[in-house]
Symmetry: C2
Subunit: 243 residues, 2 copies
């Protein structure tokens, strides 16, 4: 049992998934940092429930450029973009050592796996990714380099917020080349912007840590709004009535 499961029919989102993994007798897989979980062009095999560590999705272009698409955290589900597709559209790589559960795609698409509880959870996770991709698209499509970097820092803080929220400090798990690949810039541009922001007193840097000195100013600079999720639904998702 991976996650706490409630005793009555009132299920939390998390326990719904945990029961699913139990039912599938899914064994967790461990990966070292930098391992490929799936590669662009393969056939979709699994969804991946990230139990611990970080995984990111990316695409390589023919000229060697890379676009990083999404950073998956513990609790996230990778591979939802490939449901119903003939081929996988992006590669998945572990950014740190991590533990992952593979959920065979064929079960997702065709079987008894999809209780209403599981379905809602998957839909919400898919929505989360979609929502973040949309915001990224706005940033990359319509913001200057400086604005994009600020956006990325703020988004990182929100994303890592739940886990280790320590006094406006963000521990960024990427180097500057990777940061550039996240927001369509070069490492040189990222470096320049970070130095500028530091010189202007918006942030302080120490190693991979960024301390937001004036978060509200940064938010105002790009009119940033955090994504807010609804409190997880806690109704009787297991209801068996009338289909």
């Amino acid at each position: 049992m991976l996650l706490p499961s409630s005793v009555n029919t009132t299920m939390t989102q998390q326990s719904v998934l945990s029961e699913l993994l139990d039912r599938l007798k899914s064994e967790p897989c461990s990966y070292l940092s930098g391992c490929d979980l799936q590669h662009e062009g393969d056939r979709p095999q699994n969804l991946y429930y990230i139990q611990s560590g970080w995984v990111y999705a990316y695409v390589m272009l023919a000229d060697g450029q890379r676009q990083i698409l999404y950073l998956y955290q513990p609790g996230d589900i990778a591979g939802l973009s490939d449901v119903g597709m003939d081929r996988i559209s992006c590669s998945l790589v572990s950014l740190s050592d991590c533990v992952v559960h593979a959920i065979p795609m064929k079960h997702v698409v065709s079987s008894q796996v999809l209780t209403p509880g599981v379905s809602v959870h998957l839909l919400q996770k898919s929505a989360e990714v979609q929502s973040c991709l949309m915001r990224t698209l706005v940033a990359i499509g319509r913001m200057t380099a400086r604005q994009r970097v600020v956006w990325l820092i703020l988004m990182f803080q929100d994303k890592l917020h739940q886990r280790h929220m320590v006094a406006n400090i963000v521990d960024v798990p990427f180097n500057q080349s990777e940061l550039g690949d996240l927001i369509g810039l070069t490492n040189v541009s990222v470096s320049k912007v970070l130095c500028d922001l530091s010189n202007e007193g918006f942030i302080e840097r120490k190693g991979s840590q960024i301390r937001l000195r004036r978060r509200s100013d940064l938010e105002e600079m790009i009119h940033y709004h955090a994504i807010r999720r609804l409190a997880p639904f806690r109704g009787k998702l297991e209801s068996t009535s009338t289909y």
Copy 2:
């Protein structure tokens, strides 16, 4: 009844949705071109099943710039990015006169609506959007203006392919400012690239129609691959067994 429904338990994707709409007693709504279906910042109310016409999602920035995020076609479902969110992240506007079914979000998240068949369909539709957003992100983040325009034309042809595939002719439903807003460019840049492509014999233009004269050359120019979906699943999605 909107869509043909099969008589036995073997359900097509489409008929699954059609039955859902029946069950919800959903009445279609008609919109004129240019109407808001939902606006950024509202609370999520509905999913929108597009029965006919076009709808697109976009975000406005504080400085008046716009990023268009996705073009929904008949059969698509808009609003999937807002499942489980506190606030809507993008506005929806009709690009042509259209007919739309609203599916109340509260039913999606909490009720008996989610049969396995409906769930799979929603997940696949969500995956489609996610996949397209990822490709857009790669284009905007890592391609030059010319490559982005070529990418957009090819993607449009694929997207409009199913319906009216007439001899490599794409009828683009956007003006050049909107095309720019789709791929993070200005109308001026779009104009220049289109003129160049025309002069170089890659395309012919007549009004809003673009004829691809050498599609394979264009594909090679940007190493384009079409998205391919699996043949729609036709198993017994209505199976009532063992959850």
